[in-house]
Amino acid sequence: MTATDSFAEPLPEREAALVRFLKSFALIRESGVGMVGVGIVVGWVLIAIFASLLAPFDPNATILPYQRPGAVDPATGMTFWFGTDQIGRDILSRIIWGGQRVLIYGPIATICAYAVGILMGLAAGYFRGWWDSILSRVADIILSFPIFVLYVIVISTFGASGLNIVLAIVFASAPGIMRIVRGLTLDLRNRDYVAAAQTRGESPLRIMFVEILPNARGPLIVDACLRLGYVTITIGTLGFLGLGLPPPDPDWGGMVNEGRAMALAFPHMTVIPCLAISSLVLGLNLMADGLREISIRD
């Protein structure tokens, strides 16, 4: 492109890399669908942060079992807006605290997976040769496992703990991220500015992290949103299968699993956590779609 209208703007002074990174998010304003997504995600993040203020009850306290949404606790006079479960815990409070749990484990797992995937992908794509052969083959083999078959074996063998779940997710997602980073690196390494860096004798590490990685950020941000949504689904599904974060702390998937037996008589026990997880994932996916749309446009 030729020079753009930004000529007219006052020139920015040196800005921190983080500010620039956040600025690429700011463009999402221009996508309506993306803004809906941002709204949902921000809503959940706020709920997670202020969980202790928002939740009316102790999420693990057994109060009155089998209350339908809107029922009133005779002891305190407070309303169970979403009812209670089979052992009498307030579902609204469990949804709020469950949201905090998902929004802690999900991003941690995603960030770790990205750290591993980016390192592998940069090495495979930049050095090529046997680095690439070995790393790609390893990734292929991990990816050839149906993903939940992998989770089921790993978690049933090593036990369900927060750490194991994060490790399992990193193990299963890093190869996918590696493939994306590798593809981007293979493309970017042929750019002239990479050649320019090579011809002035820069180290491979600097070329990978300064010349290549920052220019791959667009597709990676989109993928990270999608992947965070997928990790949320994974955590929920593991909970649903009884392989999730250990009880009694609230976990959306686990709530559905526990409420399953009562689903015909008390559908609110399953439907409400399902709505919670679906809305968070929807928010992330819409956000990703908005970011993708914008990255294509420019």
Binding site: V33, D140, I141, S144, F145, P146, I147, F148, V149, V152, I153, V154, S156, T157, G229, I233, G236, T237, F240, L241, G242, L243, G253, V256, R260, A263, L264, P267, T270, V271, C274, L275, I277, S278, V281, L282, L284, N285, L286, D289
Partner: protein
Amino acid sequence: MLIFFAKRLGYLVFTMVVVSILVFLVLELDPGSVAQKVLGPYSNAEQRQIWMEANGYNDPNVIRYFRWLGNFVIGDFGMSSRFKVPVIDILGPRLASTGILGLGVLAVMVPLALLLGVLAGMKEGSVQDRVISVFSIATTSIPEFASGVFLVAIFVLGLGWLPGVSNMSSGFDITQMILPVGALVMYGFGYIQRMTRASMAEVMQTHYIRTAVLKGVPSGQVIMKHALRNALIAPFTVIMLQINWLLSGVIVIEYLFAYKGFGSLLLEAALNKDIFVIEACTMVAVFVAVTTQTLADVGYMYLNPRIRFS
């Protein structure tokens, strides 16, 4: 072509060998724990020792691995500790049930996803495209178990049209298939739809489509003859890879609807530490996944003349 095929086949075998080593390392490396899982938590050390002796578990690991692998290859997966019958006897019928479920899902999902994908991608940015895209993003955002729960809430509790359990207790019943298939299609079709859309939209932007239009080719033929042929190459691979996803999805859906298939077998086995069933299920699942991957590669090559003739 033949060489390519042989290469892919060799790669398939290689992957299966590596996977078998991984499975062996994770599940069988410690003979004591195998004995404990087979005999149950209340067995004593002496009983375990006798069992290990009888089944050759005191031999070196390498020998044990090859014996284990050999048995696998000839279809001897051992005895299920829970059902007390050979694993192969349970696995067979379960695989068949899951096969029916999977075929049902593919039969509904693939045409639906391709149709919506092509419709959306034909005119990128149009109202039609936006509506379809948001719809598919929405359905893909609902995890399988949640879409199952929603479908049950609507069609079983709300409308009372369909049964909520699919255990086939009184023989095969097609109405019991509808919700499991529906839940899987809901979650799965979006991915193929979006791939098809992206591929179609990209093709519609290419210069050869412009050439076709400016040659005076009628718009129907532009789509059918010039665009689809190129646009469906990428989704083909994705469809084959969805079989890998399906193997995961059935675990959730079979569990939710109490459908007696391969997925619920694996999950029950995992929860009950039925070790030989876990091993058999894993190997079968990976085998199916890698085989379809191989078929996808071969098919991709066949569909793409640029690769076919080089």
